[in-house]
Symmetry: C2
């Protein structure tokens, strides 16, 4: 399966992957998903807004089903495993169960959620948020990508028939188990190939708009400037310091400068803060502190700053009973928290009992070509997923 | 004349102008220039690399000529006057001389130099550097714009026949007087509409490449990061502080981040430093100080930084005798320095006696839609240029 998927959206220079949602590379991945489902006689259900479930319904299987799967989109120049590992492992786990003659008494679904990374429309887990109604249709309809294309237009351009609302197909899901490459080195330190998630940290994205006075870089005296770049620079350093002090995480990884000329003091700097922490109050306090320091510096610089929350998610404890049960099945697998957001967290918030499996990542790196998982650990992941499915679906 | 030129390349939202060299808006301006020259029976000479001189050669005019003029390109979202004011005033000054029956005994040329702003190929005064041989052909041939288009291809795409070398047409020039909108408020404080330039500050552009380790913004512990954004942010603040301390100017107005995702620690930040000062040693010391502080911070951040000079120009004192003569003609016009680079400075360096006239700018702002000049002051500028031409060319 990897063989088909690995060339898609790959940058030959970096070895990284760019699979932006509703665009060619990600659509090729979705076509691959359809073929893998068809090869296994799974019946694929699309919700018209980019999400899908490939159902295995053996004779006699009844009631609401057990969902596995993950996502196929990537950040720009991301790794090979973040997302696809969960989808591939899900197909492989079904193969394993069938080889072993296991016949589920509940439907088993392999799900794919779209725009998990938020790389195109700025909202992480957009597909699962739409499918669970955790973003309202009006907000979603207003989303635009960097080129000004609206979400609805991007969807219809690739043949989706979006309703921008809750997906009926999720009503058939009782429980969701998402397998994912670990984004950190917790399992490396524990010498274990597989772990179970305890909670997904509270996290969010905030847009900082710094505005100043555009002017000539050579002719304008230093004391006459209102340079928003300086306000931004101090804010980026403050964010780092505050996150260290507070035991949280804060990152400015995306910046847009206008007009972005070497010889012009900018009129505007837009920068996006990614902030995370063990609980929502911690994150709120962190963002407020950063915003306050930005405001103070803006006063000194004669610039202005405004802060807009673009997406905010509370801490999500996955289903404790389910997670404990899975850890037990897997021979007391370690239970570890995650700083990353996931579709499983969105489904848990929406009332669908959810859990996550992590596969060891030797570098701990993710969202980068350096993200990695050993083949042996991936196979352990498939075995674990098969055991979990056998337990939950029979 | 303004009427034809004002709509070209204008952004209706900001009121600013974007006239990138060898692209449609700037080419329209060049077409306008050709028409204005033809209307006055001036003979236009093109050098095949984007520069041009429209010659007025009355019967009996002989020897090397007096060049006036400026440039027609702009920074992205720049002002209406920076460049075009000098070209329009030159045509208008010829009209005035003809109305008055003045017949020059030397040829008078209205020149346009291409890519003065360096907005597309990163090197300011590129046209005049090429025409005077102050950039070698191999370096010029290697220049690419942000889309990867080579300078030579951009030139030939709009019908130029580039040789990338000294322009023979400059051999016919004895003296160059460039009129320009002031980029600062010196004339405002002096209550004078017109000034004469004393010297153009030493200035240059340096590219700072900050490299780190791309990783997940949520899952990576603060202490495990190697985030080049932090190194850049400290460097931008240091540049500002050092320039203030040293009585110089330093600006980071252009930044590119890779991969520029909200939830990814960047792999790379590229930022361009524009630095200027009264003399070249001051600027060298400034850039060295900023580079040293960047290196120290990079060590703390576990990142790397490298600094590449992209274009560096020494202080250019314009022709002192010429400037004094012009100031006297204009009733003791004030003589003021300029932090901006100009084609006249390049020609002076290349041994062509050069001077500049400035027209008062009430806001002092330039490289921005807020750049302005009053009509009465512009007419004073035309009058001044006509007087200078009458003095120098008859």
């Amino acid at each position: 399966m990897w063989k088909m998927l690995l060339p898609i959206g790959r940058n030959a220079r970096t070895g990284g992957y760019s699979r932006s949602p509703f665009a060619s590379a990600e659509r090729e991945c979705m076509a691959w998903y359809g073929e893998e489902a068809a090869r296994r006689d799974l019946e694929v259900e699309y919700d018209g807004q980019g999400n899908a479930i490939a159902w295995w319904r053996p004779e006699g299987a009844a009631g609401r089903g057990v969902l596995v799967g993950s996502h196929l989109d990537s950040v720009d120049d991301g790794g090979a495993f973040d997302g696809p590992l969960g989808v591939i492992s899900s197909f492989a786990a079904i193969d394993l169960l069938r080889d072993r003659g296991v016949v589920p008494t509940k439907p088993v679904g392999v799900g794919v959620f779209v725009e998990e990374e938020g790389s195109r429309f700025g909202i992480a887990c957009l597909g699962s948020r739409l499918a669970t109604g955790r973003i309202d249709a009006a907000t979603a309809a207003g989303l635009k990508d960097a080129d000004g294309t609206y979400l609805l237009d991007a969807m219809t351009a690739v043949g989706c028939e979006p309703s921008l609302g809750r997906s009926a197909m999720l009503e058939q899901v009782e429980v969701f188990v998402e397998l994912h490459v670990e984004q950190g080195r917790d399992l490396v330190h524990r010498l274990r190939p597989i772990g179970v998630a305890s909670a997904s940290w509270a996290h969010g994205r905030w847009r900082f708009d710094f505005a100043g006075e555009p002017n000539h870089a050579g002719a304008t005296r230093m004391e006459d400037r209102h340079d928003p770049m300086l306000t931004y620079a101090m804010t980026a350093l403050a964010a780092n310091k505050q996150a260290r002090l507070g035991g949280a995480r804060a990152t400015f990884g995306r910046v847009t400068v206008e007009p972005n000329n070497t010889n012009a003091i900018p009129s505007r700097v837009q920068a996006w803060l990614d902030a995370r922490g063990a609980d929502a109050e911690l994150v709120d306090r962190l963002v407020a502190d950063i915003g306050r320091q930005a405001g103070q510096r803006a006063e000194r610089d004669g610039t202005t700053v405004s802060v807009t929350a673009e997406s905010v998610s509370p801490t999500v404890g996955f289903d404790v009973g389910l997670s404990r049960r899975i850890a037990t099945i897997l021979g007391d697998a370690p239970v570890i928290p995650t700083g990353a957001g996931h579709d499983a967290a969105i489904l848990q918030l929406a009332g669908i009992s959810s859990a996550m499996l992590f596969v060891r990542n030797p570098t701990g790196v993710s969202h980068s070509p350096a993200e990695v998982a050993e083949m042996a650990d991936c196979l352990e992941g498939v075995e674990a997923l098969a055991q979990v499915l056998e337990d939950l679906a029979t």
